[in-house]
Symmetry: C2
Subunit: 342 residues, 2 copies
DNA sequence: ATTGTCTATGATAGCGCTAACAGAATTATC
DNA sequence: GATAATTCTGTTAGCGCTATCATAGACAAT
C-alpha cells in the first residue's frame, strides 16, 4: 500500500500515466481497458504507475472517442412509493453483472417532467432506456423512437409500446380481483384509491375492476379518493369515512396495499370482523403486509421480476443478442385472510 | 406541431442543425445553450430547425469541451430501507431547481462495492459527490480527496469528514433515547437490531445507547439481532423471542422503526400493555408509524433535511458560493404513546 | 537469406462539442 | 463622416480519449 499521492492541481490524464510509465498513451489506454495485446512487463509498469498517481480515467473523453456509453437511463415516477425503489433494486442487481450502469430519473408523475428528464438523459447517449408506463408526451415518444437504443417500457401492459415492454396488465389485474371478490360472494363493494389522474396504472386497475363488476351486473357502491399524506393514515381515515357513510358495504378494494393496511388496522381496532363483516383487498404484494396481524388479500405486482426482465433485455440488446419484445408477467392473487369467508 | 421526422440513421449533430438553419455550428451551440448574444431572427431559425430535426445535444461532447459536467454522484448503501429513497427524494427536489442532475449508486453496505461505484462515478467527473457515512476504504478516501470537487458525507456525524458533512450524531441519538428511557423509570431494558456489522450508523446508535445506560449503572438486559427478511415480521418474531426468554424486561429499544412497529403489533395482538407492562421505542420517524394503532416512540432522523442540506451545499459550491462545512441536525425525540407511562 | 505470421507498440486522426478570439455588421458619438 | 462602441456571427484549436492503421521486432517455415 503506497500512501496516496499529493492532491494534483491539474487533473491527471492518460498522458501523465504514459509519461510516468514510459510508454505511449495508446498502450496505457489498452492496459487500463484490458484490450489488445500488451506484454506482462508493460502491463505491470502501467498499472503500477496508474495506481501510484491515483489516476481515474475520464469516461467522458472515452465515451466520445469510442461512441460507447455504459449508462442505462431509468425513468420512474416517484421514489416515495416503495414499488419503484424495489424495481430499481432489481435493475441494479442485473446490471451489476454487466458493464452497464443505471442512472435514475424521477418524474413526479408529470408528463412534462418526464419529457425533460428524458431529454436530459438522452443527451448523455445512454445504451438503453427503461421507463415506467406507456403514457408519454408526443415529443417524448418521438425522442425515444429516434434515439436508436433499446427502450423498455415497464410496469404496464395495456397500450402500444415504442419498442420492448415488460409488465403486468393492470386492467386484467383489476378484473381478476373483481372476479375473485364476486366469486367469494360479496356484492356491496366499495373502492378506495389515489386521486391521481396521472397514475395510469392505478386508473387502469380501477377500470378493469369496474368492468368486471359491471359484467356481473354489479356497480361500485361507494368510493373514496385521497392524495398526499401518509397512505396508512389515509387508509384508516377513508375506511372510517366510507363505512360510516355506507354501512352496508361488505367489501373494500384498495388501490394499493398501504391504504389497505390502514383499512385493515382500522377494522381490527374497531372490532369489525374481517372478512366476516367486511372483506378487504389491496394491490402490490408489499412485504410489509406479512407483518400485519392479519394477512391482507393482495396481488403481487411482480415488480422484482419486472426490473430483472427489463434490465436483462437492455443487457442482451447491448451485447448485440436479441431479446424478447414483450414480457407479460402474471400477478398472482394472494388470498391472505381477508377475502375468503371461512 | 410538425410531425416527427423520419428516424435518422446517422445520429444528428450540431452540424446538421447548422446546415438546416444556415448558420454556423457555433451560433447553433449558442442558441441551444442560451449563451451569448444571438439575434432574435437567428435564434428563431435555429430553434425551429432543431425542433424539426428532433436534435438532442450530445452532452458528452459538450462536457468534454467545456470541462463542465452537471452530474452529482449520490452514493447510498441500499434502496430497501425507505430512509434512503427519502433522502434521494429531497436531493432530487433541491437539484431540480439547479442545472445539476443526481446520479445514484448503491453499495449494498459493502466497502469494496462503494469503492468501485465511486471510481465509476468519478470517472464521469461529476460536479460533486454526496455519500452516506464516514467509513470508506483508504482508496475511496484518496479518490475523493483527489477529486477536487465538493464531497458531502451524510447521515452520520461521528468521525472525520473528508470535506463537508451533514447529519445527526448517531451516538448521541442513542444516548438521548437511553436517557429518556431511564428518566421514564425503566430499568430492565432489551435491545433489538440488525446484525449488520457494516451498518455503522446502527452500530453507533447502539454504542451511544449502551454508554448512556452504563453511565446510569444499567446494563442491557437482553438483546436480539436479525438480518434479512421483512423487518416487520422480524420485529414480531424477535419481540416474541426476547419476551419469552426474559419476561422481566420492561422496555424494548429497536434500532429501527420497522422492527419496532412489528414489536408493537405483536404486543397489541398479545394483550401486552404498552407502555404499562413494556415500553417501546424505535428510530427513524418513518411516516408509517402514524398509521399504527398506537404511536411508537421514535426519533426523527431528519433525513429530508439531510438530503436538502447536502444538495444545497453541492449546489452552492458548484455556483462558486461558499457553503457550510458541517451541518449538524438534531433528531427530535417523539414520545408517541409507548414511552411515557401515564 | 526470404517470406510470412505473429505479437507488441506507436502515430495519426478524429469523436461532437465549446472557449477564446477575430471579424463583420450595426449603431452611437462627436 | 470618421471613429468608437456595440451587437452579432464565424474561425480555430483543442477537451482526453480510442479506432485504425502502420511498423518494429521475434520467431517459424521455406
Amino acid at each position: 500500500m503506497s500512501s496516496p499521492s499529493t492532491p494534483p492541481k491539474r487533473p491527471l490524464t492518460l498522458r501523465d500515466v504514459s509519461e510516468a510509465s514510459g510508454v505511449s498513451e495508446m498502450t496505457v489506454s489498452r492496459v487500463l481497458r484490458n484490450r489488445g495485446d500488451v506484454s506482462d512487463a508493460t502491463r505491470l509498469k502501467v498499472t503500477e504507475a496508474a495506481k501510484r498517481l491515483g489516476y481515474v480515467p475520464n469516461k467522458i473523453a472515452g465515451a466520445l472517442a469510442s461512441q460507447r456509453v455504459n449508462l442505462v437511463a431509468v425513468i420512474i415516477p416517484s421514489l416515495s412509493n416503495m414499488v419503484f425503489p424495489e424495481v430499481l433494486t432489481s435493475i441494479n442487481e442485473v446490471l451489476d453483472e454487466t458493464p452497464l450502469q443505471p442512472v435514475f430519473g424521477v418524474t413526479n408523475y408529470l408528463p412534462e417532467k418526464e419529457e425533460s428528464v428524458l431529454f436530459e438523459m438522452l443527451s448523455w447517449r445512454p445504451s438503453g432506456v427503461i421507463i415506467a408506463g406507456l403514457e408519454h408526451t408526443d415529443a417524448a415518444r418521438a425522442m425515444m423512437r429516434n434515439a436508436d437504443v433499446p427502450i423498455v417500457e415497464i410496469m404496464d401492459l395495456d397500450g402500444d409500446p415504442i419498442d420492448a415492454i415488460v409488465g403486468v396488465s393492470q386492467r386484467r389485474a383489476g378484473r381478476e380481483m373483481a372476479e375473485a371478490i364476486i366469486k367469494a360472494g360479496y356484492r356491496n363493494i366499495g373502492f378506495m384509491g389515489t386521486n391521481m389522474p396521472l397514475d395510469h396504472r392505478a386508473r387502469k386497475r380501477f377500470e378493469g375492476f369496474s368492468e368486471a363488476l359491471a359484467d356481473a351486473g354489479i356497480e361500485i357502491a361507494d368510493q373514496e379518493f385521497y392524495s398526499g399524506g401518509s397512505a396508512l393514515v389515509k387508509g384508516r381515515e377513508m375506511t372510517e369515512a366510507i363505512l360510516k357513510r355506507s354501512p352496508g358495504l361488505d367489501f373494500l378494494y384498495y388501490s394499493n396495499d398501504m391504504i389497505g393496511a390502514g383499512g385493515l388496522l382500522y377494522c381490527l381496532a374497531n372490532g369489525i370482523d374481517v372478512p366476516g363483516q367486511v372483506g378487504l383487498a389491496g394491490f402490490n404484494g408489499v412485504e410489509l403486509l406479512n407483518g400485519l396481524p392479519k394477512q391482507l388479500a393482495t396481488m403481487d405486482a411482480e415488480r422484482h421480476k419486472i426490473g430483472r426482465a427489463a434490465a436483462e433485455i437492455i443487457a442482451a440488446r447491448s451485447r448485440g443478442e436479441d431479446a424478447p419484445q414483450r414480457v407479460e408477467l402474471m400477478p398472482k392473487l394472494q388470498f391472505g385472510d381477508t377475502l375468503i369467508r371461512s
